[in-house]
């Protein structure tokens, strides 16, 4: 059953604040936070000049693709990490990401565009600190921008 579009800004703010807390918690972590394999995550860079010119479909494809990649990376990290408290932390992060995916779905971000866009840029990471920093910046940036536009009453 399709969700009605979710535009309550407080929901994303909670996810973003929790992402920031987890990112800060990982900052000093070194050895136990190195991953045994390289994970591919979305590049979080957003150029506002370019974003404004992008059509809604291309924005949706970038956000949806990035979200899927990031979710898979967090899930993989959860399974790779030996420390149970870190693993649990990553489990909560994964759970939050599933909620974000549903919010994006409520705005039809998952609809295939007519022309497949160029794959969004990615980077390879190998530490938890970097993973959680990417997570934090992806939510604050692309996801929140996409939702801000999707929730405006005027059409683009």
């Amino acid at each position: 059953s399709p969700l009605h579009p979710i535009c309550d800004a407080r929901v994303m703010e909670k996810f973003i604040k929790e992402a920031r807390d987890t990112e800060n918690a990982m900052e000093g972590c070194t050895n136990s936070c190195n991953l045994s394999e390289v994970l591919t995550v979305p590049d979080t860079k957003v150029n506002f000049n370019e974003w404004k010119k992008m059509d809604r479909q291309t924005q949706a494809a970038e956000v949806w693709g990035g979200q899927a990649l990031l979710s898979a990376a967090v899930l993989r990290a959860r399974d790779l990490v030996p420390d149970p408290s870190l693993s649990q932390q990553l489990g909560r992060t994964y759970s939050n990401l599933r909620g974000v995916t549903q919010i994006l779905r409520s705005h039809n971000a998952q609809v295939e565009p007519a022309l497949p866009p160029a794959p969004p840029p990615t980077l390879g990471i190998q530490t938890l600190a970097k993973l959680l920093s990417v997570h934090s910046n992806f939510l604050r940036g692309r996801v929140k921008l996409f939702l801000t536009d999707a929730c405006r009453p005027d059409t683009r």
Partner: protein, 216 residues
Amino acid sequence: QEGAGPDNGFNIQAALLLGEEPLDPKCFTRCLEDLTCFWESSSPPSATEYGFFYVVEGDAPQRCNLSVARTPWNSTRFTCIFPPQDTPSFTPLHVGAYTGNSSNIVHARTIMVNQVVLLDPPSNLTARATESPGQLTVSWQPPSLRYLESSLRYEVAFAPEGAERQMVDIPDGRTECLILNLRGRTRYALAVRVKPDGVSYSGYWSAWSAPVTVVT
């Protein structure tokens, strides 16, 4: 596995849900990172014959180990405590209870974790008379639900000793209010409870806070 928190705390929550939620199994989360489902039966089949399954939409079905306990009101309660990674918000979650080898489904529901929130009651309720007669300023601490304080609504109940109680609604997450037009020089009892505001998060009224009494 034991029920969430000390057994008595769980009994209180179960009692609240038994009152408010007609469907089975009854499910609730206390802080959005946990999920508990349960149902009660006065004359259950042999406990070992019940099973519980759940499907987070998009995942494979999972089973959950049920814990069995006797309630203070002489029924049997079957409880599933979800693993923390299977409690995503805004995601349809299909849950069900069956007897036999999943052939006979006894209860089935689809819920969303963000819609079955049952919080701890507010704490540190204080009420003071003000300079104006017949007025009370009331304030309290919110339950600890990180980053969602503004998505809560409260209900304050107040009554003069022995009389009918009245309620006042406090929206927008505010944790204080001013009650006017009360009888002067009367002892009042007050209590407060909390619930998500229903916009993105919804659920059930919490238990009432510990009451306080004050003279206007």
